[in-house]
C-alpha cells in the first residue's frame, strides 16, 4: 500500500514564499518516488485538512513561525500523525535564538558573545542608554537580529554606533526580542545532519556571498553567492567543525534532521555557532540538498531518507 504523504507548506510565516519553493520541490520528488502526495497550505482549515483523510506522514516544508517553533509539531502530535524533522521540544529551543544560545553557552559550545533586549526594555525601561556599554563590551561591527526569524530577515550588520538604533528598530519589526551579537570575521559554514542514533554528518558547505554577509538576496538569487563543497578547510578543522555541529544537534535535542550554521573565526579558528535550523530549506539554492549531493545523495534520495526516518517511528 502506497503511503499517503501531506507536504505542509506556505503558512503565515514571513518566509512563506521560500517555504512554497521548498514544498513544491519536495512534492515533485515524492511524486517521482511513487508516493501518494497532497500539498497542504497552513491556514485556519489545517486541522480539518489533516483529519479529513488518513495521512501516514506529514512532510514539514515550513520555515519560520508555526513550522519551526513547535506549533505544527504539537498539532501533529495531538493528531498522532508522524512528521519529518525534530520534535516539539527541539523546535522550541532552536527557534528562539536567545534560548538556544544560552544552552550552547551552558555546554561550552562557542557562539558569538551577545546581549538580548526586548522591545519593552527600550520603550519602558530606558535600555537605549545601555547601547554604548554593549558596544564597549562587544566592539564594532555588531550583528543585530530578531530573536526568532529565519532567512536572515531583519538581520543587519552595524559598523557605526549611531546606526544601532535603526537596526534594533528594524529587527523588532520581526520579533519582540532582539539579539545584539559580536560580529565574527571568518568563513560561513553550514553543516547538515541527518539520521537518528548514529546520524550522518553531511559534507560541510562553505558560503562566500558577494556582499559582506549572507543576506536574503544572497541566499535566494542564484549567482549572488559562491558555494564550495566540501568547504576548503584542512581535515583537522573540518573535523572540529563537524564535531561542534554534532554537539549542537545533541544539546538542542534534535533528532532526524538539522542544519547548523557556523562561522569559523579567521584568526583563532574557533567555530562559532550562529544557529540551528530544524526545517532546513529545500529550494534550488538551499544548503542541505547541496551537501547531500556531495555525499552522493540525490534530491529524491534525500527526501526519501528524511521520510523513512520518521516512518520508522511508527
Amino acid at each position: 500500500m502506497k503511503k499517503n504523504i501531506a507536504v505542509l507548506m506556505g503558512g503565515r510565516s514571513l518566509e512563506r514564499e521560500i517555504s512554497l519553493k521548498s514544498g513544491h520541490r519536495v512534492y515533485g520528488a515524492l511524486k517521482k518516488l511513487g508516493y501518494s502526495v497532497t500539498k497542504l497550505d497552513i491556514d485556519e482549515s489545517i486541522v480539518d485538512n489533516l483529519t479529513s483523510e488518513k495521512i501516514d506522514l506529514a512532510y514539514i516544508a515550513l520555515h519560520g513561525k508555526d513550522g519551526e517553533d513547535g506549533t505544527i509539531q504539537e498539532i501533529l502530535e495531538l493528531l498522532n500523525i508522524p512528521y519529518t524533522g525534530p520534535g516539539v521540544y527541539s523546535n522550541i529551543l532552536s527557534f528562539d535564538k536567545i534560548i538556544s544560545k544560552q544552552i550552547l553557552v551552558s555546554h561550552n559550545i562557542p557562539t558569538p558573545p551577545f546581549y538580548f533586549l526586548n522591545e519593552s526594555s527600550f520603550m519602558e525601561l530606558g535600555a537605549s542608554k545601555l547601547l554604548p556599554l554593549v558596544t564597549e563590551n562587544l566592539g564594532l561591527p555588531l550583528v543585530v537580529k530578531p530573536s526568532a526569524q529565519g532567512s536572515a530577515l531583519g538581520v543587519k550588520i552595524v559598523k557605526k554606533q549611531e546606526d544601532i538604533p535603526d537596526a534594533i528598530i528594524s529587527a523588532l519589526g520581526y520579533s519582540k526580542k532582539v539579539i545584539i551579537e559580536k560580529f565574527i570575521y571568518g568563513t560561513e559554514l553550514a553543516i547538515s545532519i541527518i539520521g537518528k542514533d548514529n546520524p550522518q554528518i553531511l559534507p560541510v558547505v562553505e558560503i562566500v556571498p558577494e556582499k559582506d554577509f549572507f543576506d536574503f538576496e544572497s541566499r535566494y538569487s542564484p549567482g549572488k553567492t559562491n558555494y564550495f563543497v566540501p568547504a576548503r578547510l584542512p581535515q583537522s578543522l573540518t573535523k572540529k567543525v563537524k564535531e561542534t555541529a554534532a554537539h549542537v544537534h545533541d544539546v538542542l535535542k534534535c533528532s532526524k534532521l538539522s542544519r547548523v550554521d557556523i562561522i569559523l573565526d579567521k584568526k583563532e579558528k574557533i567555530p562559532y555557532v550562529l544557529e540551528l535550523n530544524t526545517s532546513p530549506g529545500m529550494t534550488d539554492t538551499s544548503l542541505l540538498p547541496m551537501a547531500a549531493e556531495e555525499a552522493g545523495i540525490s534530491f529524491e534520495e534525500l527526501v526519501e531518507k528524511i521520510i523513512k526516518l520518521s516512518l520508522e517511528d511508527d
Binding site: R12, E17, E119, S128, S151, P165, D166, F216
Partner: protein
C-alpha cells in the same frame, strides 16, 4: 577535493540587464498580501466583482457565435478595427479628438510602456520621469538601460520649474531627452493630479526641447469629484499634435484580465509601434479584443464606470477619514480626487520598508515608497491602494497600521 557548486550554469550568457533583477525580501513579503486574511493596501487591483458576470458570459458567447473565426484567429498587429472605433469613442468622452487610425492596441498599457521604451531608448539615453512614479514603467524603462532623470512632484503633479531647469541643463550638455513620462490624473503612486497650467507648461517645454511626453492615463475616467483637467494630448491636438504619446487601458474601466491597452500617437510613431507589437506578440489577443468590443458596444458600460466610481470613492473616503481620525501627527497623505491610491508620508526617521514586516505580521500590507523612486528616496513614504478592500476592511487596516506606526514612533523616541 573541494569544488565550487554552480547553481546557475548560464551565468556567463545572460545579458547585462539581468543584473538588475534579483530576489528581494520586500517582494517576498508582499506576496503574502495575496492571502485572504491579509488586508491589502498593496496591489492596485480593480474591483472586477462589480461587473455583471452574466452579461459578460453573453458577450463571450456572442463573440464566439457571431465571429468565432475572427475571435480565435491571429489579428492585425495594430488592433481589431471595430474595437479601435470604440476606443476612440472612449477617448472622446475625455475630450480627446482621435479616431481609429490614431490608435494601436497593445496587451495592456504595460506592453505599451515596454514597446515605447524599446523603440526610443538606446542604452545610456536620457529619459525623464516624475518622482515618485509608477514602478511598472520604471522597471520597463530600466531594462533598456537608460539614464533616468527624476523630477519631483508636489500636490499639483510634476514640478515644471524643476523640469525646465533640468531640460536646460541637459541641453547645455548637448543631451537629447528621449521622453518625459507622467501619469497626470490621480497618479500612481502619489494620487496627485497635474494642474492645467503645468500641463500647458510641460507641453511647451516638450516643444521647446524637441522631445516627447508619454502621457499615461489609466485612471482619468475614475474621477470622483472636481472638474476634469484637459489631457496633455487634448492640448497637443489643439496645436501641432506632435509631442504627446498617449497611453490608456481598459483595465480600470473594464477588467485587467483582458489585457487591453492602447496608444494614440503621431502616425510615424504608431508605425514603429505596430512593428514592435508584431515582433513582440504578433497581435493583442483577438478573443479579448472581440469581447471588449461587445462590452463597449453595450451602452451599459458607462453605468458600470459610474458604479466603479461609487465604490472607489466610498473606499477613498473611509481611508482618508480613518487616516485623519487615527494617524499620529507628523504623518501626511494625499487626497486624490479619483483613481486608486493615497500617498502616505511618515516622519522622516521612519522607514516604511522596516515597518512592513511588522504590518504583515499584523495582517496589513502596503507598498514601501522607495520602489517608486529611481534614486532610492522615499524611505519614509508608502503607497496605500484603497481600490481593493471593502470599507470595513479599510477602516480596520488603517487603524492597525496607525497603531503600528504610533508604537514605532514611541520606540524610536526611546532612543533619543
Amino acid at each position: 577535493m573541494s569544488k565550487e557548486i554552480i547553481l546557475d550554469h548560464w551565468k556567463h550568457l545572460y545579458a547585462s540587464r539581468v543584473a538588475l533583477m534579483f530576489s528581494s525580501e520586500i517582494r517576498d513579503l508582499l506576496s503574502l498580501s495575496a492571502r485572504p486574511d491579509i488586508i491589502s493596501f498593496a496591489g492596485g487591483l480593480p474591483e472586477v466583482r462589480a461587473l455583471n458576470y452574466q452579461k459578460l458570459e453573453r458577450y463571450i458567447r456572442r463573440a464566439l457565435k457571431m465571429d468565432g473565426d475572427i475571435s480565435l484567429q491571429y489579428g492585425s498587429s495594430d488592433g481589431y478595427y471595430p474595437l479601435k472605433t470604440k476606443l476612440a469613442e472612449v477617448m472622446k468622452l475625455e475630450n480627446i479628438d482621435a479616431n481609429e487610425e490614431d490608435i494601436v492596441v497593445t496587451t495592456g498599457g504595460q506592453q505599451a510602456l515596454d514597446l515605447l521604451a524599446k523603440i526610443f531608448i538606446n542604452p545610456g539615453d536620457h529619459i525623464i520621469v516624475e518622482s515618485p512614479g509608477y514602478t511598472g514603467a520604471l522597471n520597463s524603462f530600466k531594462s533598456y538601460e537608460p539614464k533616468i532623470v527624476s523630477i519631483p512632484v508636489d500636490s499639483n503633479g510634476i514640478i515644471t520649474s524643476e523640469l525646465e531647469q533640468k531640460l536646460k541643463e541637459l541641453e547645455n550638455k548637448n543631451i537629447q531627452v528621449k521622453f518625459i513620462y507622467v501619469v497626470p490624473n490621480f497618479s500612481n503612486p502619489s494620487g496627485y493630479t497635474l494642474s492645467l497650467s503645468r500641463r500647458k507648461k510641460m507641453l511647451s517645454l516638450a516643444k521647446k526641447y524637441n522631445t516627447l511626453i508619454i502621457e499615461d492615463n489609466p485612471y482619468g475616467m475614475l474621477r470622483f469629484e472636481g472638474k476634469p483637467v484637459p489631457s496633455i494630448k487634448e492640448l497637443d491636438i489643439k496645436s501641432s499634435n506632435q509631442n504627446v504619446v498617449y497611453i490608456s487601458t481598459l483595465s480600470k474601466i473594464f477588467a485587467p484580465g483582458f489585457r487591453i491597452g492602447w496608444v494614440a500617437a503621431p502616425h510615424p510613431i504608431l508605425e514603429k509601434l505596430t512593428l514592435a507589437v508584431q515582433s513582440a506578440d504578433l497581435c493583442t489577443s483577438s478573443f479579448s479584443q472581440r469581447i471588449a468590443y461587445e462590452y463597449f458596444s453595450d451602452p451599459c458600460w458607462k453605468e458600470n464606470v459610474v458604479d466603479f466610481i461609487k465604490i472607489y470613492s466610498a473606499r477613498r473616503d473611509i481611508m482618508i477619514k480613518t487616516l485623519e481620525d487615527h494617524f499620529p501627527p507628523g504623518a501626511s497623505w494625499s487626497r486624490p480626487e479619483g483613481g486608486f491610491f493615497v500617498w502616505l508620508k511618515l516622519p522622516e526617521f521612519l522607514d516604511t520598508k522596516e515597518i512592513l514586516a511588522d504590518a504583515i505580521r499584523n495582517k496589513v500590507a502596503y507598498v514601501p515608497g522607495s520602489g517608486f523612486y529611481a534614486d532610492n528616496r522615499g524611505r519614509n513614504e508608502a503607497r496605500l491602494a484603497f481600490c481593493s478592500e471593502n470599507t470595513e476592511s479599510i477602516e480596520k487596516g488603517i487603524k492597525i497600521l496607525s497603531k503600528i506606526i504610533k508604537d514605532k514612533i514611541k520606540l524610536y523616541r526611546s532612543f533619543k
